[in-house]
Symmetry: C2
Subunit: 139 residues, 2 copies
DNA sequence: CGTATCCTAAGACAACTGTCTCATAACGTC
DNA sequence: GACGTTATGAGACAGTTGTCTTAGGATACG
């Protein structure tokens, strides 16, 4: 049977986010960070989550020190990309535009972001030439 | 321990989508529709999925006929809304604007949708007065 | 050395997902 | 009214997720 695609459940995502933010961290550091953010997990829970992430190949660990140091292997970009695609496919008939409209209608943007969005739109329609080689936007 | 929030996994979502499309359907009808769409599930699988959806309160069944007729209770809007919120919270720091930007950068819209988006933006920034009474977007 | 402390390993365990098998009840038809 | 068709019901079963317990190894420091 076809191996299910690697999926990152919510709890693992919370852990992964900490690694994205700090670049790397030990179990305890992740734990502390999450504690501050309100997640009341036990040490073992965090360790398990990190372990599962590593098994999935999403992060690696440096085991040369006593406490392993974990580091992300995939970027938040990649994960976001995947989640968004999935959402669009499942609920927006594969039409990202529908999701954009939905978002704008449901949550008004603040002025700054509205301006940014408009800028992107400009570029898209005004500057028609396909800039397909664009190296996937950095934020 | 707090009951986990009602979640609709992908397979159930596929079934639910059929109900949204057709308004209502029996197990067999759902099965046929999914078959045509390429989903090779057994009758029992579809029945289970419908059953689980009903348990979750997402759909209801009319049991007066031999074959139960299932009908959605929650709209696609609601489900979409929830999924999007979750995505934004988990991966876009609760900032819908970031997701919008991401979407626009990653997938150019076609002209029609671009225009629509612009229109929504206009309304948002130009017409500042809170028109909160707007009857929650019909598509 | 002794013992408190921190770390990982192993795995438990219930709930949820993905899928299916089998039993059994209702129906339609000759 | 017996037979094949279709339906539901019950539940099996492996894999995933959410969370933790317990055991045992390494470290630290008096």
């Amino acid at each position: 049977m076809a191996k299910r695609p690697t999926t990152i459940p919510d709890s693992e995502l919370d852990v992964l986010k900490v690694l994205w933010d700090r670049g790397q961290a030990t179990v305890r550091e992740v734990l502390e960070t999450l504690r501050e953010a309100g997640r009341q997990w036990s040490y073992a829970t965090v360790a398990t989550l990190l372990d599962r992430l590593e098994t999935k190949g999403v992060i690696t660990s440096d085991r040369s020190e006593l406490a392993f140091v974990y580091r992300p292997v995939v970027s938040s970009q990649e994960v976001r990309q995947k989640r968004v695609s999935n959402l669009v496919d499942k609920l927006y008939q594969g039409e990202p535009g529908l999701l954009v409209l939905h978002l704008l209608k449901a949550h008004p943007l603040d002025a700054k972001q509205a301006k940014e969005v408009r800028a992107v739109l400009e570029e898209m329609t005004g500057d028609k030439k396909k800039r397909s080689g664009e190296p996937s936007g950095q934020e």
